[in-house]
Symmetry: C2
């Protein structure tokens, strides 16, 4: 029999999705399950998205340009200019969501066996994308005690080898909710120039920022036009996760041209959603994003105020995105998250969380952490967080120290 | 400055799409351009596709399951059973079009540097997919004189090395229009078992078959459940190229499980099109495909009768798909196709063809061949083919022998 590839063996299952069968079983037993495990925003998408799709009147669905519809690209360029990021039409193309944009960045810039440094805890799918591209992920650990701040340039420099070709950051960060400011990006800029590195920046949470200060984009770092690839998507900003429309943004013509060749091979991004997204980009006022931000900020405040101060619970500063990575008084987050679905319930309800271990590339880290996505309205979020408080009070799997700490 | 990857340098531009700027320029000069260069079918998509999408009434577009909506997978399983291919629900998942299904098959079964044997002329994007997966394409040449018949098992065996892990076929074939019958597939079956090879079969043109006999599917070869991955898509059968909905079908649980891990990394296929495709699959009677087949058969007949018998033109048997790979009395197909767009016109019209060279991996082959996609109604196709006849009569770039042969 022919054998599967060793890269397939090495690719991890999605830590966020592997608990799904236990959630299905819980629902089959009649329980309500609050999905705090997945970044599926619930704020209503712009009505113009749906209207434009319903107005389509074509007998077929044709391929679009491999770079996406030009009119959509023009609308996207305007969207960036409106938030102070000046790019040209030939520096942006449409991808099948942010996922594909990251894969294209890796394929265009790194060879098999090259290394990309990524702060951990990290968005777990970066590990899967690296497996697809045959690229080695080198984690650099950030700590809850430091509010998961970006490590210093010196710490980054210690991870650099002859195979290091890029640094990948997510800002605002999934899973930690950290926002990296100008000083931190300036450090990356020096590194990139000194060590000839590409900077990949996943900026899909750019609109989700509760610091009161603008989130700096890597696209606005001077002197880095040849080093930077920015990745964006409409999944989060318009609650259109299933639309699969993203943006690859790069001012380096060689990188852009290479990525376009990979885009040509897969022919075109989804056509119907492109029509809807263009309408959403053209019609959505900045106030939409302000309203959305206010809503998520209220939820963030609710989460922090409910959990911070509980015995054995550590809630760091949460400044952006719609996640918090929190420390809980538990022995093993994988066991705890499974226990929530299999053994715990209160009043016919339970909740699903993403185990922290899945966000670390370094073995053994994250065992007492979970990622919480605050993607419910406050009333429901309050119920879900109350369930978590109750669950922690009865969960049998605490270490001795945790039990003592929780007194 | 950091440098782009060597795999990016090695990836070819799409031969089908690289002439696009010349077509745009021709249109800007006021010419009508007949696009015989791209497999964009024009038969009307099922109305149920559009109706189902217009009936969606959700405030957001959520991620679907990474494997696609279960109800769509169930509809697809029924679709295959109706055409005599018995598969189970856990043997099929939804991909972002056939392109992604092929990439997943390569990633799951082959390591970087492994080899896949592909008959040439071949669908040009296979080369791009192999570049993405870091896999080496080993071409095995088929000849217009043999109607591009599949080479014998002995010829395949001569290409097998210690790195060979798979054979990839497209049946019915793009770009040649050849249909491989049972005897040819039986030869592949023996090879796969003897040499422990995976068989990847791109069967997206399964409904486009003018032989009067059923096209055998690799999924019906006995004893190959662990070796076969079949790839399908709705792009051609429903004229939904831009919908980006395809199918990965495999009875080998290790391969299937591996491909699902890559699917989890990219989260979900496009959600809105999945709803439409499910409606199309559930509601479309077999008569839809019969009508479609009759229409394309008429066009095939028109193409063959117009071109066959012209001096210096070789038109092989064309039994399936909606392409013909024909030999023309020209010195260089790339020059000819560019000349059509830049210098030729008749009555304000010209045409775009796909140069044959782009479909060969072996350097120097295909220089006097072009791929013609017959994706226009007969009246328009007749006009386009008449343009080709006129163009051949005045094209200055013929070799001496061609000029003599054309007498």
């Amino acid at each position: 029999m022919p054998e599967i590839s060793s890269r397939a063996v090495a690719t991890p299952e999605s830590p966020i999705r592997k608990l799904a069968p236990f959630a299905d079983a819980a629902k089959a037993r009649g329980l309500t399950v609050y999905h705090l495990n997945i970044g599926q925003p619930d704020v209503e998408a712009p009505v113009e998205f749906w209207q434009a799709i319903k107005d389509i009147n074509d007998p077929i669905v044709a391929y679009t340009n491999s770079a996406g519809n030009q009119s959509l690209r023009e609308a996207a360029v305007q969207h960036y200019r409106a938030k102070g990021i000046n790019i040209e039409l030939n520096q942006l193309f449409i991808t099948t969501a942010g996922s594909e944009a990251i894969i294209f960045a890796m394929l265009a810039c790194l060879n098999e066996g090259d290394e990309v440094i990524i702060p951990e805890p990290m968005y777990a799918n970066y590990i899967g994308f690296a497996a697809i591209a045959g690229v080695k992920v080198v984690p650099i650990t950030t700590r809850i005690e430091d509010n998961y701040a970006l490590p210093s340039a010196d710490e980054f420099a210690r991870q650099i080898t002859s195979r290091t070709k890029a640094i990948l950051i997510c800002n605002p960060n999934n899973p930690t909710g950290t926002v990296y400011g100008q000083a931190q990006l300036d450090g990356l800029q020096d590194l990139a120039i000194k060590h000839d590195l590409f900077i990949f920046a996943d900026e899909v949470y750019h609109e989700f920022n509760y610091t009161g200060q603008p989130v700096p984009s890597v696209l606005n770092l001077p002197g880095l036009d040849r080093h930077v690839v920015a990745i964006d998507s409409v999944s989060k900003k318009f609650s259109l996760c299933g639309a699969r429309v993203g943006f690859f943004i790069c001012r380096n013509p060689e990188v852009y041209g290479s990525a376009i060749k990979f885009a040509q091979a897969r022919l075109s991004p989804p056509a119907i959603e492109q029509v809807g997204v263009e309408a959403a980009l053209r019609s959505t006022p900045r106030s939409y994003f302000e309203g959305m931000k206010d809503e998520y900020m209220k939820r963030r405040d609710l989460l922090v105020s409910t959990l911070r101060g509980l015995n054995g619970v550590v809630v760091p500063e949460v400044d952006g995105a719609f996640y918090a990575m929190v420390r809980l008084p538990i022995d093993d987050c994988d066991r705890f998250c499974k226990w929530l679905l299999e053994e715990f319930s209160h009043d016919g309800k339970t909740l699903m969380l993403a185990p922290g271990t899945g966000f670390y590339e370094t073995d053994g880290l994250g065992k007492d952490e979970v990622r919480i996505a605050y993607v419910y309205r406050c009333e429901e979020l309050a119920t879900a967080l109350e369930l978590l408080v109750r669950a922690l009070a009865v969960y049998p799997g605490r270490t001795c120290e945790q039990a003592l700490a929780a007194r």
